[in-house]
């Protein structure tokens, strides 16, 4: 899973327009091996943006019927703060049941999993994967991937905000000196215990710095973060 997604994150860094982002959503969908991937964002003034792989007729129909007002995924995610399997949402209303049937008929899939994201200044977004699968298989699939999906969702949202706001966005890649030190020590082959010792911090603190550096570098794991930091010239070893 990680090795499949790493190249996506590298390409995501170079995305400059919403069109390119849309393309990348398609690429990522293929790598995740699901039928659909959706990124949907609403800012504080109600402006919406979506990058998705659903068929265009379903998207038109959804917009024309204003299904967002009754879609349990949208309503449920807006209130939630943790990822949610569609099965855990409330589909008992008549309108919701009919909506679900129509969605499945339109190729959305019978299973879904959505990650809510709260961005700056009241911005809200969600990243959804959907698929046709049995409950058992879907549970295995999402269990294995939910943590990575959370990270992907944040990176995609960050990129979308960056495109929307243009150049005034503060680059996340500003590592603090201690974060840079932590990445450098691991890059030099120190174990976590040795690195913590050399930097006079606890191993726990080191782990927090590494995790934070990894996120700021848009990387999936520590090895990926080291590669990023080196290619950006943030560390020299």
């Amino acid at each position: 899973m990680q090795s499949l997604v790493e190249p996506f994150l590298d390409e995501l860094q170079n995305v400059k327009t919403l069109d390119e982002l849309n393309q990348q959503i398609g690429t990522l969908r293929d790598k995740l091996d699901v039928e659909h991937l959706v990124y949907h964002s609403v800012n504080s003034t109600g402006d919406q943006y979506a990058a998705l792989t659903y068929n265009p007729e379903w998207v038109d129909r959804y917009i024309e019927q204003d299904y967002a007002r009754l879609d349990p995924v949208v309503q449920g995610c807006y209130r939630r703060f943790v990822p949610v399997d569609w099965k855990d949402l409330d589909w008992t209303g008549k309108a919701q049941r009919e909506f679900l049937i129509e969605a499945i008929d339109s190729g959305v899939g019978n299973q879904g999993f959505s990650v809510p994201i709260r961005g700056p200044n009241g911005q809200f977004a969600m990243v959804t994967i959907s698929h046709t699968a049995t409950d058992e298989l879907w549970q295995l699939y999402t269990q294995e991937r939910s943590r990575t999906l959370i990270l992907l969702a944040h990176f995609i949202n960050q990129k979308a905000l960056e495109i929307e706001r243009g150049t005034d966005v503060v680059a996340l890649k500003n590592l603090s000196p201690r974060e840079t030190d932590s990445v450098r020590m691991i890059a030099l082959g120190y174990s976590r215990a040795q690195a913590a010792d050399a930097l006079s911090i606890s191993e726990h603190t080191l782990r927090v710095y590494l995790e934070s550096a990894r996120f700021k570098l848009g990387a999936l794991n520590t090895t990926h973060a080291i590669a990023r930091a080196m290619s950006l010239g943030l560390i020299v070893i």
Binding site: Q75, Y78, R79, R80, F81, D90, R118, I150, H204, S212
Partner: protein, 209 residues
Amino acid sequence: MLRYIPARDLSRFPKLAQSMFLDRTAQFADRLGWPVQVGPDGGERDEYDALDPVYVIWERRDGGHGGSMRFLPTTGRTMVDDHFSDLVQGAKIKSPYIWECTRFCLAPDASAGVAPALMLGGLELGLRQGLSHAIGVFDARMIRVYRRLGWPAAPMGRRGEGTNAIMAGMWDFDPAHRAALLRRARVSAELSEHWWRRSMDALDLTEAV
């Protein structure tokens, strides 16, 4: 019972919310003497309450507040970034896997089980969404309390001496802590699961949307 409530949903629990902010006044303004803001309704609130945090709250049988904590993802603004950066050597900690925990508060007459139950709630909140760590800034004396409660905080930095000392620390979200916290809170794994589900299901009620 434990409740997990995002700030935008607090208005659906008026008694619980109101008594929580009043108890925060009692703890942070009256007892600890911190320079916090107390509103016209007598409740203590700060700017971070406006950033849609998630509250882990112990609700008493009468619907009032027994104790609480506040969680914010470090991807947004945090207290440690804004005010206590020196405690983490200037690092601006940012990760969707690391959340900040602040305003650990107990009602003045809270029973002994409330504090461990809150720690259990904090652990559940992290484990159920795949977080790696919580960070927090606290009165340095709390380090012993957290250890006694069954989920020690690892110190990251310290400012000041004696009773005025404050500390930044972190907790790791490791399922291995669950057994000890369940035991100290005298709660079964099933009940803890039930409380979590109940809170999540409550978020689906669409009447307020």
